[in-house]
């Protein structure tokens, strides 16, 4: 991983778009392009590009009206695209409304992985680490950030293995097949089961997707409170004492905690 990271940093932004385009067979999804804008590609960035990074406009339009807040944890675009596509399969766009990508859920995860959640700051991480019974819960020495990093790698290697393609470039039903293998613990995670399990990664992926879809928008998911609107949850309301005794269903415009969207 470390070598790959360093190489990535030397790329210019144009190089990146070129190579990614080539690597993915010329298909660059709106979300991938949107995802790349706003990332720090170093000092060789043009003025024009810097402006578009600040306003987030070009990325916003191309990724379906969503803004790009930039990334803290995922420095590698392909990794971010992989996890974004996986989250979209967990919570896909449909008749009810946007899916994980349009809701900004991958950006939610990005910020979480960079902080206390990703670093397991409030979890007991003292050894010795041993594989336990399922009823004893998570016993890996890996932090959530490490588990996601391994999981993303494994999603791609499993996809290469089964379909000769990276996860992000698979058809939807192929992606679902791969995710189902992780869910059932059948994927090759590249490390011994005692060290880390594919189903643990899948469990975190699933729960983080739902968290990002429905957490207050200040956490960078649930954009436009569209997650709440789909579900009919009014978010932060001071009181329901005026409506609590009404027999009819109340449709209430949602509000976020600090007024953001």
């Amino acid at each position: 991983m470390a070598d790959k990271d360093q190489k990535e940093k030397k790329f210019s932004r144009r190089d990146f778009l070129k190579t990614t385009g080539a690597a993915t067979g010329g298909i660059i999804g709106g979300s991938l392009l949107g995802g790349s804008i706003g990332m720090n590609f170093g000092s060789d960035m043009s003025t024009e590009e810097e402006e578009s990074q600040q306003t987030g406009e070009s990325g916003g339009e191309e990724s379906g009206g969503t803004e790009n807040p930039g990334r803290i944890f995922f420095h590698n675009d392909a990794d971010f695209e992989t996890i974004s596509q996986a989250m979209e399969r967990i919570f896909p766009e449909d008749d009810h409304g946007p899916g994980a990508i349009k809701l900004g859920v991958p950006y939610f995860l990005d910020m979480q992985l960079a902080g206390a959640y990703g670093n397991n700051s409030k979890e007991y991480m003292q050894g010795p680490f041993r594989e336990g019974e399922a009823t004893q819960g998570y016993q890996s020495r890996l932090t959530r950030a490490e588990l996601f990093t391994i999981g993303i790698e494994a999603l791609n290697s499993e996809s290469q293995n089964d379909y000769d393609n990276g996860f992000a470039d698979l058809e939807d039903d192929q992606k679902d097949e791969i995710l189902t293998k992780f869910e059932g613990g059948d994927a090759d995670f590249g490390i011994p089961r005692a060290a880390g399990k594919p189903e643990d990664f899948f469990g975190l992926l699933r729960s983080a997707t739902l968290q990002g879809a429905y957490a207050d928008p200040m956490y960078r998911g649930n954009r436009g409170m569209e997650g709440w609107k789909m579900k009919g949850f009014p978010g932060h309301q001071h009181a329901y004492i005026q409506q609590i005794d009404t027999d009819s269903f109340q449709e209430i415009e949602p509000q976020s905690l600090y007024g953001g969207k």
């Binding site: 336990g132 869910e183 004492i241």
Partner: protein, 574 residues
């Protein structure tokens, strides 16, 4: 270097409901009380921006920092216990107010049957019904409901509880201090269904108050606004009775009470020359790392049951329970809870996102021994309830049987059902078994190098049978409410420490009338150490079919009386 502080009359280890009650009563009686709180100060001002499901409910903002301390767990003795590395099955509280800050506020008195469960069961069904030979260790509590009734009354008045009489509960000396909460559409549906099935539904006794109330200590609790953020949250209105808005300010008003935050007690101090007493406690300032000894005439352990147990054990006070020989009492009778419930799917949409932690209706027709167990293969039962605590979107994703847990179908169903499902469930008692107990872990330690508590626990046939029975009863109620489809809970297999179930852990420092089978007497005074009191749900000899806080509060008032009496006479209490 250890610094010895000036002696106080009473020291409490932890300042939540029990520590706050002891402090208020002892301070009002003129005793100087020091409350050692491992966490920080907090109060209503800290909850002004609390409507954040992710931060508080999912990431456990108000809960114990597990990186510093947890427990280890195994189902059975032949397994190796491993640390509970992240919060799950139950929520360990932290900071001033403890679990009394993040509770829902459902405030039930345990039944008369609970306190005399062994005697009453034997009298009605014969001794074999107790199943001693199968390892169940059902025992009386050493106190009766009638003896405890004045303390229940006192706790309810301190907390201003909103409720109405329960025809199937114990006798009451007085009404609840405030009327019940507002009845909602789903509660009325439950009430009608329960009535038509011949049961006796009542509004749930609630610590989210129906109206503002000034309690006998002169503290005011505000009226609930039904904002639907109670359990796992603090109340921004001061409308959920908690130690910070009741007993802690009452204790402080006397001028006799001081809270010392950031003070983690690691040992109860003993006198080498007098094995009938303790002399104080040793604690670590969690910010500076400095060690202190707080000498006290009376020591009261008022932390959560795991920590109360742990302090006795690491201080070598009392004898550890051994499941092989059944000698020793410390750690025995650990109990938990099972839930027998069913979900109804409706076409109608309900305002499930509105509510309050203790907004609900319930009946006790299948609780305690309120129904005939002659032909049943279990004892006890549970309080059957519907609640409208406020469904929040991250945690509430109800789907029909056989639905995948992700993807398009999951999304559709979890969204549509968010406001179209109602759940009825019985909160079932669990009864003690010789194999379920607390011990000290030999391998893993906390941030202060003190061993972790080791929990050995599994569900029993009793649990599975009572759960199976109440699932069916719950499903009948849901059907009667008009559900188009009913999804029944599945019966538990092995206890799993991962998914959240209940923060109603009990036992380990149980009360009783016999030092051979209990840790404290019915004043919660330690059998071996006259000036040491241990109070909380750890005193429960089994877990009843209700939320524990009212019974914990009553025991704390009982204990406070013992502490004050002891401070005057320096004698064992009888």
């Amino acid at each position: 270097m250890v610094t010895e502080l000036d002696k106080v009359d009473v020291v409490t280890v932890g300042v939540g409901w029990t520590g706050g009650i002891i402090a208020a009563e002892a301070a009002k009686a003129g005793l100087k009380v020091m409350g050692l709180e491992r966490g920080h100060e907090r109060g209503t001002d800290d909850y002004q921006n609390v409507h954040d499901e992710y931060k508080y409910a999912i990431r456990y903002e108000l809960m114990q920092d597990m990186s510093k301390e947890t427990i280890t767990f195994r189902n059975t003795r032949d397994q190796r216990a491993l640390p509970m590395r992240e919060m799950g099955s139950f929520l360990l509280g932290d900071n001033l107010g403890g679990a009394g800050t993040h509770w829902n506020g459902q405030t039930w008195r345990f039944l008369p049957y609970d306190f005399e469960i062994r005697s009453m069961t034997e009298e009605r069904y014969g001794a074999e019904k107790l199943k001693d030979d199968e390892g169940y260790r059902i025992q009386d509590w050493g106190i009766t409901y009638d003896e405890l009734e004045p303390y229940f009354d006192k706790f309810e008045k301190t907390a201003g509880i909103s409720g109405e009489p329960n025809p199937l509960g114990g006798d009451r000396s007085d009404d609840y201090p405030t009327p019940p909460m507002i009845k909602t559409r789903s509660l009325k549906m439950f009430e009608d269904a329960a009535n038509s099935l011949g049961y006796s539904p009542i509004m749930m006794p609630s610590a989210n108050l129906s109206e503002a109330f000034e309690n006998p200590d002169g503290q005011t609790i505000q009226a609930c606004q039904y904002c639907a953020f109670c359990e796992r949250f603090g109340c921004e209105y001061g409308a959920k009775s908690s130690p910070e808005v009741t007993v802690i300010p009452a204790a402080r008003d006397t001028g006799n009470f001081e809270v010392r935050p950031h003070s983690n007690v690691v040992e109860v101090m003993k006198d080498d020359d007098d094995d009938s007493k303790v002399t104080g406690v040793r604690f670590i300032d969690t910010r500076s790392g400095e060690e202190f000894i707080q000498p006290a005439d009376v020591v009261v352990l008022t932390s959560y049951l795991f920590n109360n147990y742990k302090l006795l054990r690491v201080s070598e006070i009392g004898e550890q329970y051994d499941p092989e020989t059944e000698e020793g009492t410390l750690g025995r009778n650990y109990c938990y809870q099972v839930f027998g419930g069913a979900v109804g799917f409706f076409d109608e949409q309900f305002n499930t996102f509105m509510g309050a932690g203790a907004l609900g209706m319930a009946f006790d027709d299948f609780n305690g021994d309120n129904y005939d167990h002659s032909d049943l293969d279990f004892l006890h039962g549970g309080n059957m309830a519907i609640t409208q605590t406020g469904a929040r979107p991250i945690a509430t994703n109800t789907t029909r049987e056989g639905t995948p847990s992700w993807g398009a179908r999951f999304k559709k169903e979890s969204i549509e059902n968010y406001t179209r499902t109602l759940r009825v469930q019985a909160q079932c008692a669990t009864l003690p078994h010789r194999d379920n107990y607390l011990d000290l872990d030999e391998e893993y330690t906390d941030a202060y190098d003190v061993p972790l508590v080791q929990l050995t626990y599994n569900f029993t046939d009793q649990d599975r049978n009572v759960q199976g029975y109440t699932i069916d009863r719950a499903a009948e109620v849901v059907e009667e409410m008009g559900a188009g489809e009913v999804k029944k809970d599945t019966v538990v297999e092995d206890y799993d420490i991962v998914p959240y179930q209940s923060t109603h852990n009990t036992g380990g420092t149980i009360m009783g009338d016999d030092p051979e089978t209990s840790v404290v007497n019915n004043y919660l005074q330690h059998w071996d150490r006259d000036n040491l009191f241990v109070v909380g749900a750890g005193n429960f000899a089994h877990n009843g079919g209700y939320n524990p806080t009212a019974t914990v509060g009553a025991l704390a008032y009982r204990c406070a009386e013992g502490v004050i009496e002891y401070a005057e006479d320096n004698r064992r209490l009888e």
